[in-house]
């Protein structure tokens, strides 16, 4: 069986960027960001480096590349639709950016972490792009095969938000372990779940966390179809097969 790319089944997303005097489209698709209204991105980047006018679309592409493996993104970005971060177009002035121009300092005055306007702008992008950035960073973690405390906690938050809400147990304790074989067991006041970190890429990033009243434990793309392993409301295991939207990479016509 062919191994599919991680972005197969993740719907494309597009945002609009004020670029010079024009409004341009920047699209995420196939795991990468594309400036749709620039024919020669490398050429324009070189021109800007030589003193030409900076181009907002290319600045966004470059920022995306810088943060594509930055696990801070997992901590900062929205955990899902119930965890809303107000969107703002790329490059818009931000009050928070000013608040965080005070460099955090650790021992000896050295900077520990530095958050800046680019972090803010990326995580506030409209059009679903921050979720695609989360997926990109998560895919990097999966590829590395090592889940840090930072990544695990952010994974925990995303699972908790969906799973406890789906179970109707928002105040329950979630005991979550990383495991290849997904399971969910509900005890008094405690929900014990085992999920692989790749759930974030395979399920969460594809927007498949809950579907038809089911909670999705695992998802894969197979011949233009999502194949889902789901829990029914009475916690029984089921397999669902759902035809993909033709616009989504991995679908029969989208690949």
């Amino acid at each position: 069986m062919a191994v599919s790319a991680w972005w197969e089944g993740v719907p494309p997303a597009v945002t609009r960027v004020r670029c010079g005097d024009a409004v341009h489209r920047v699209q995420w698709r196939d795991g990468a960001l594309h400036a749709l209204d620039h024919a020669d991105v490398d050429g324009e980047r070189t021109l800007a480096a030589l003193g030409g006018d900076p181009c907002a679309c290319i600045e966004l592409l470059d920022a995306w590349t810088r943060f594509a493996a930055d696990e801070h993104v997992l901590v900062l970005a929205s955990r899902g639709p119930a965890d809303r971060i107000a969107s703002r177009e790329w490059g818009a002035e931000s009050d928070e950016a000013h608040a965080f121009t005070y460099a955090p300092r650790g021992a000896g005055g050295a900077s520990i972490v530095s958050f800046d306007a680019e972090h803010l702008s990326l995580l506030r992008l409209p059009g679903g792009l921050p979720d695609r950035l989360v997926a990109t960073v998560a895919a990097n973690v999966v590829e590395r095969g090592e889940v840090s405390s930072r990544a695990y906690a952010a994974f925990y938050g995303r699972v908790r938000l969906v799973l406890l809400d789906w179970l109707g147990l928002p105040d329950a304790e979630l005991a979550l372990t990383l495991a290849d074989a997904p399971t969910v067991v509900v005890e008094t006041h405690v929900v014990r779940a085992a999920l692989p970190f790749s759930w974030l890429v395979d399920v969460w990033a594809r927007g498949l966390t809950t579907l038809l009243g089911r909670f999705t434990l695992a998802a894969r793309v197979e011949d233009g179809t999502y194949v889902l392993s789901v829990l029914t409301p009475d916690l029984a295991l089921e397999e669902l097969r759902i035809a993909m939207n033709p616009a989504v990479p991995g679908s029969r016509s989208g690949t």
């Binding site: 901590v75 965080f100 021992a107 972090h119 906690a153 952010a154």
Partner: protein, 410 residues
């Protein structure tokens, strides 16, 4: 047995709090519980302060992105860097402090000058009643002259309510002679009374105690509250999870009872252990408190203890409470609302008088640099007017200084 991962524990506390609605009792959700968990882990040595700070900063930023109010965590971002190690510390030098205790007629009303401290700048303590018109353009300034002929304009720093003014006047451009015998304020000569202030200062080791329990006791002292109840159960959960505390430790019941009694949510002080049973607290008497009015020149310095040193210059008392003008090195040893480091162990300002009352203070106005801070330590409960002395006890994590101050009012 699984190994406790302190960083992961803190991240999960912060993660849950970020996604939960802020608890109104704590005035803003994730900041308080995450900071409390971080402090506990740092206090018992389970997590490096730098790592804890990094986690707090990330979640502060996450909270800000969501439009949450940011309280304590945000302050961590402005914390002075920890550069002053124990080896660099020396006791502070005593400054000349003189009592004045005289009224001065100002165009806007009468000012009572209570003391003067000669440091880098001369600081003139003042209380007074001024005409409301005096505040139309901000508080008034004073013309002050010393016996060398130096004349300065001193500006007010402090607070005022209605016509009542309370604070300090500072010369802004030049300073006054530190050896002057008198000051002339608004043309009126004031003799300075230097006092033979040899206060007994000693260091006492604290009773050896379990680091987790010691942290819990410090957590529930009022100064640690920042005007909000400490999230005690979060701290207990963290200490239990770390293995530093057993969940059914017999002292936990006492700690919870003291916390509840001080929180005002039930339980009187009877039956509480000392010093809690004798703790006087401010009540905001509608008719005013019964504390003595006046100033005591202290001028005491402590040796270095628990990586800090303290100087107490002045004790001021009013009907409703009392305060100390102090200096501390490093400034980060004092908990302050702006610029403080919430992950560092702070001094707790205990005091006890000879009438068997105990007092505990919080930090008032504070001005800190990397090496030294100065400001006001505020006791909200009035002093017992019949007390003849008070022991000031800035308390660290292994020792406390005890400064005995006879209460001879000026």
């Amino acid at each position: 047995m699984s190994v406790f991962d302190a960083e992961l524990h803190l991240r999960l506390v912060a993660e849950r709090a970020l996604l939960e609605a802020p608890d109104p009792r704590h005035g803003g959700g994730e900041e308080t519980v995450a900071t409390a968990a971080a402090r506990a882990l740092v206090a018992i040595g389970a997590l490096a302060a730098e790592t804890a700070g990094e986690v707090l900063e990330e979640y502060t930023f996450a909270a800000t992105l969501r439009g949450h109010e940011v309280h304590e965590l945000f302050h961590h971002l402005h914390a002075p860097p920890r550069t002053a190690g124990p080896a660099a510390l020396e006791p502070l030098r005593a400054r000349r402090v003189a009592a004045i205790g005289q009224d001065v007629a100002h165009a806007a009303g009468t000012l009572r000058l209570t003391y003067v401290i000669f440091g880098e700048r001369a600081e003139l303590g003042v209380v007074g009643l001024l005409d409301e018109s005096a505040f139309n353009h901000g508080p008034p300034s004073l013309r002050v002259k010393d016996d060398t002929g130096t004349e300065v304009q001193a500006e007010f720093a402090g607070g005022w309510s209605g016509r009542q003014l309370h604070g300090t006047f500072y010369p802004m451009r030049r300073t006054l002679s530190p050896t002057t015998r008198w000051l002339e304020v608004e043309g009126q000569r004031l003799e300075l009374r230097d006092e033979d202030a040899h206060h007994e200062v000693r260091l006492e080791p604290l009773r050896e105690s379990d680091p987790a329990l010691r942290h819990l006791w410090r957590q529930i002292t009022p100064d640690e509250w920042s005007h909000r109840p400490a999230p005690l159960e979060t701290v207990i959960d963290t200490l239990v999870a770390s293995g530093a505390l057993v969940v059914d430790h017999p002292e936990l019941d006492t700690i919870r009872r003291v916390h509840t009694a001080l929180d005002g949510n039930g339980g009187g002080k009877r039956g509480l252990p000392e010093p809690w049973r004798s703790l006087r607290r401010g009540h905001g008497h509608p008719r005013g408190g019964d504390g003595p009015r006046g100033v005591v020149v202290v001028g005491a310095v402590t040796p270095v203890f628990d990586e800090c040193a303290v100087a107490v210059d002045v004790l001021e008392s009013s009907e409703d409470g009392w305060s100390l003008i102090v200096r501390v090195t490093p400034s980060a040893a004092v908990k302050s609302h702006f610029g403080g480091d919430p992950l560092r162990s702070h001094l707790v300002w205990w005091a006890a008088d000879d009438r068997r009352h105990t007092y505990v203070a919080h930090t008032g106005n504070w001005d800190g640099s990397e090496t030294e801070g100065s400001g006001v330590i505020q006791f909200e409960a009035p002093l017992d007017a019949k007390a003849s002395y008070v022991d000031l006890m800035p308390t660290g994590h292994t020792h406390r200084a005890v400064i005995r101050v006879p209460l001879v009012w000026r």
